[in-house]
């Protein structure tokens, strides 16, 4: 039953993609609505702040619409990775642009996850929730300290859950490069968390 539902969804998505490829903007906007959370989430984890994430997500959707003729996949999953690839490229480009012209302001480091009600779990007490928020903030800051290519690789792999092979295809690098980038990113993040030491809630401290 659930499988049949998924199948129908996939078929719906295929027709939406086909319509979008014929220039139907409404059809494409249907796809936007069903993917915007995932897209924004990826952008947010790579960019690290809501404003940049929003810009990158919008940029990515526009780019996806303009290049949808180039999408030739047959399955819904391939559309997702096609879209995510566009998002991560948009983020990566923006990060490189910033590296050339660094304009780091205080606001960039302010994160307003707390303000997002979607994050509040109903099984969490207020204290636990605050700790979780604090931890997320720390990790996000740690991710931001990584070089752009490692950042993108880490987010695609550990946040989005793409396989090495998928990440390699999305970032246009060999599998071995994905492996080493990911290892370096994780190692640096581990070191960063270690440095935080006692600033972290007890249960999150690295042992």
């Amino acid at each position: 039953m659930a499988r049949r539902g998924a199948l129908r969804e996939e078929r719906d998505e295929q027709s939406l993609i086909a319509a979008a490829q014929r220039g139907n903007r409404d059809a494409f906007n249907e796809l936007v609505l069903s993917y915007q959370d995932q897209v924004y989430n990826l952008a947010y984890r790579i960019m690290g702040d809501p404003a940049s994430a929003s810009d990158a997500a919008q940029e990515a959707f526009i780019s996806a619409y303009q290049h949808i003729d180039g999408f030739r996949g047959k399955y819904a999953s391939s559309f997702k990775s096609w879209l995510m690839r566009i998002v991560s490229n948009a983020c990566y480009d923006e990060l490189r642009r910033r590296k050339r012209r660094p304009a780091t302001s205080i606001e960039d480091f302010e994160m307003d996850e707390e303000a997002n009600p979607a994050l509040v779990s109903e099984f969490e007490g207020p204290e636990e929730h605050a700790e979780r928020q604090e931890m997320a903030r720390v990790i996000q800051t740690g991710i931001r300290s990584l070089p752009a290519d490692q950042r993108v690789t880490l987010v695609l792999s550990d946040v989005q859950g793409f396989s090495y092979q998928e990440v390699a295809e999305m970032t246009d690098v060999p599998l071995g490069t994905v492996k080493s980038r990911l290892a370096r990113a994780r190692g640096k993040l581990r070191d960063y968390l270690r440095d935080q030491g006692e600033l972290l809630p007890i249960q999150y401290r690295l042992k």
Binding site: R45, Q140, A183, R190
Partner: protein
């Protein structure tokens, strides 16, 4: 020291890479077993693995963040940037062509200016050179009369009539005549040319053509030279016969093609009586010309056929020329004529090409 640090770091990196791949189950069987053996003996390595695993799980557990707003594409978002994909295949080719032509426009302009100047200089030289100065006006006139049908032929098919006018103006000698010509239909121009030919063929031959196919040319041919002028005028009011040319050409032969008409007139090698013809061309009957030109507009139909009156002039001329026996200067003048006509035509063709080039560029 530095090298040692770097080596240690790379060792650490290699260790992390092993541990990281191990966490993801991406190690080969042999590698995995070797690492597990090391882990069993090395507590530090175990601690590193634990820390790394914890880090990865912290990242994996990061809460999913919902989009703070909708990213639906508005029409303006897409319109502002979309023009690229759709018209691309159509725009691309013409634009490259456009670039090529745009680049050509200034060059063509320069070439046109140079050739026009040369044309003027040659004409002026022809006019002012002592010895032939007296003869100058006739060839000049003839040349123009020959050029005009040519203008019409080139300009009219492309529908360039209006613009041609302006562009011809720079070469002063053409200015008075040219504006009339381009407005004509291509057919008219061809007709005229044919008229000229018939007329030419008829004029110098004192005897009737051997096998006249059509009535009119035959009549003309049989007429006395003095009557020819009238006959020609009559002919022009009637449509020209494309077929009348060939049979009525007793001396032309192969050279009597339509395209070559103007040239044939200029260089009448195959003609039986070349001297006579060229005399006709050169005769300096200025007084005779003047009345003709002024007559032309009065004749309703002929007025439409702008250049015709000037062509008619060429016809009556031979008669007078023959009478005056002006044979001498003729031979020396021929190259001048060819040069002038060639330059004039080149200037016109260039002018036309320049107009096109600028037009394309402006678009």
């Amino acid at each position: 020291m530095l090298r040692l640090l770097r080596r240690r770091k790379s060792e650490e990196e290699r260790r992390d890479e092993l541990l990281s791949a191990y966490l993801d189950g991406e190690l080969g069987e042999g590698e995995r077993q070797r690492l597990e053996a090391r882990l069993a003996q090395d507590p530090t390595l175990r601690a590193e693995l634990r820390a790394l695993r914890q880090t990865v799980s912290l990242v994996q557990e990061l809460p999913e963040v919902a989009a703070p707003r909708n990213f639906i594409l508005s029409k303006s978002m897409v319109e502002r940037r979309q023009p690229a994909p759709r018209p691309e295949p159509q725009v691309l080719r013409p634009s490259s062509e456009r670039v090529r032509r745009a680049w050509a426009a200034p060059l063509l302009t320069a070439a046109t200016a140079v050739v026009s100047l040369l044309f003027v200089v040659v004409l002026a030289g022809d006019l002012l050179l002592p010895g032939i100065g007296g003869l100058a006006s006739a060839p000049q006139q003839l040349e123009q009369s020959k050029e005009i049908p040519q203008i019409a032929l080139e300009a009219a098919p492309a529908g360039e009539g209006g613009e041609m006018e302006d562009e011809v103006a720079p070469s002063p000698t053409l200015a008075p005549m040219a504006p009339e010509a381009p407005r004509e239909e291509p057919e008219t121009a061809v007709e005229e040319k044919e008229d000229v030919r018939v007329e030419r063929e008829v004029a110098p031959s004192p005897t009737p053509p051997p096998t006249p196919a059509v009535e009119a040319p035959l009549e003309e041919a049989e007429m006395a030279p003095e009557e020819e002028e009238e006959a020609i005028e009559e002919m022009q009011t009637e449509p020209a016969w494309p077929g009348a040319e060939t049979p009525a050409a007793p001396m032309g032969g192969g050279a009597a093609t339509e395209e070559a008409a103007a040239l044939a007139a200029a260089t009448p090698e195959p003609m039986v009586a070349p001297t006579v013809v060229s005399e006709a061309v050169l005769t300096p009957t200025i007084p005779a010309e003047a009345p003709m030109v002024s007559e032309a507009p009065a004749e309703g139909e002929v007025g439409l056929l702008g250049p015709t009156p000037s062509e008619i002039e060429a016809a009556p001329v031979p008669i007078q020329a023959e009478e005056r026996g002006l044979e001498r200067p003729v031979r020396g003048r021929l190259p001048w004529e060819v040069l002038e006509i060639g330059l004039g035509l080149t200037a016109l063709v260039l002018t036309f090409a320049t107009i096109q080039a600028w037009r394309v560029r402006r678009r």
